[in-house]
């Protein structure tokens, strides 16, 4: 069943040591490795807002900057399994220690905090949906975006991101942890210039884990000559195909 035919206008991604499309191509061909590099201050973000960005938020802005210019109006779908869980965990430890929470940290602790900063930085006043996709992985964001396109929006920006879980949380038997922070941004459209793609339900039964472990598989699919990708999490599988 085809859920959506769409056009991929632009995409960008950030992981340690990988940020340009050349970096991702080289990485997908096995010619470049990730590094221990931390995301620097994104040039698109004003100085007074940069201090509000933690590492994951910086990664998000580096990825999204490939797909949007300041003042451009485009509806957005953000998707993150855990959000800024490192920060949430530090706040929980602060509460546990009986100390007062930082109002700044608290104000940015909601799941849509990065989406809010994003709308300020790019002066983007369009609707924004922020998902915590759980078992459906990255497909949930595509389903949401497909809905927006079918309602008549010309373009939708998808922003997918996750960071490693703090050691406190159990990793096993779940497949929901990555070793590095990673952000992926895609601008998709109903028609027009770009790479024509299809997104559909697959009958395959697979277990590719949740979004954090799917992000790199999807970046590899985009950066390489790979024609199709199927990702599933036991119950549902989803496929992306370059036409």
């Amino acid at each position: 069943m085809i859920v959506s035919d769409f056009v991929l206008r632009d995409w960008g991604a950030w992981a340690p040591g990988l940020s340009s499309s050349d970096d991702w191509q080289a990485w997908s061909a096995g010619q470049k490795s990730m590094s221990a590099e931390l995301p620097g201050a994104p040039a698109s973000v004003p100085k007074m807002l940069q201090r509000r960005l933690n590492l994951l938020a910086k990664a998000v802005f580096h990825a999204a900057d490939h797909c949007i210019k300041a003042g451009e109006q485009v509806p957005t779908v953000f998707s993150s399994t855990h959000g800024e869980i490192g920060k949430s965990f530090r706040m929980l430890k602060t509460i546990d220690a009986g100390e007062e929470l930082s109002p700044t940290a608290f104000s940015l602790s909601v799941h849509n905090a990065i989406s809010g900063l994003f709308s300020i930085v790019y002066d983007n006043q369009q609707e924004s949906t922020v998902l915590a996709p759980g078992m459906e992985g990255i497909a949930a964001a595509f389903i949401e975006a497909a809905g927006m396109l079918s309602e008549g929006r010309d373009e939708v920006l998808l922003v997918l991101y996750d960071e490693p879980l703090p050691d406190f949380f159990p990793f096993e038997p779940f497949k929901l942890n990555i070793d590095v922070p990673c952000a992926l941004a895609l601008k998709i459209a109903a028609a027009g210039p770009g790479l024509a793609m299809q997104f559909y339900r697959s009958p395959e039964v697979r277990d590719d884990g949740e979004q954090p472990v799917q992000l790199l598989a999807f970046a590899k699919f985009l950066a390489s000559g790979q024609k199709s990708l199927t990702l599933g999490n036991q119950k549902h599988s989803w496929s992306w195909h370059k036409r």
Binding site: M48, R51, S102, P103, T104, S107
Partner: protein
């Protein structure tokens, strides 16, 4: 006291690129001056409570006046601690 407060502002609000000399004691801290916002006001309120044991109460105190400049903030803290 004013320099001590300026350092507190820089540290509490992560103003990495700003030094004590960049902050004018009589310039506004918020909006047009240093460019701080309402979240910064809360963060600064917490830092002042921790360091000086002075609580600024948004219900009772004239918060806009207290936070109008480093100089005004220093005067207020000293008047309460006296």
């Amino acid at each position: 006291m004013e320099n001590e407060l300026k350092q507190l502002i820089i540290d509490a609000l992560d103003l990495e690129d700003i030094s004590i000399d960049d902050i004018d004691s009589h310039e506004p801290l918020f909006n047009n001056g240093l460019g701080l916002d309402s979240i910064d006001a809360l963060e600064l309120g917490l830092a002042i409570r921790k360091k000086y044991d002075v609580k600024i109460d948004a219900e009772k105190d004239d918060v806009a006046k207290i936070f109008s400049s480093v100089s005004a903030l220093a005067d207020y803290i000293e008047s309460v601690r006296r």
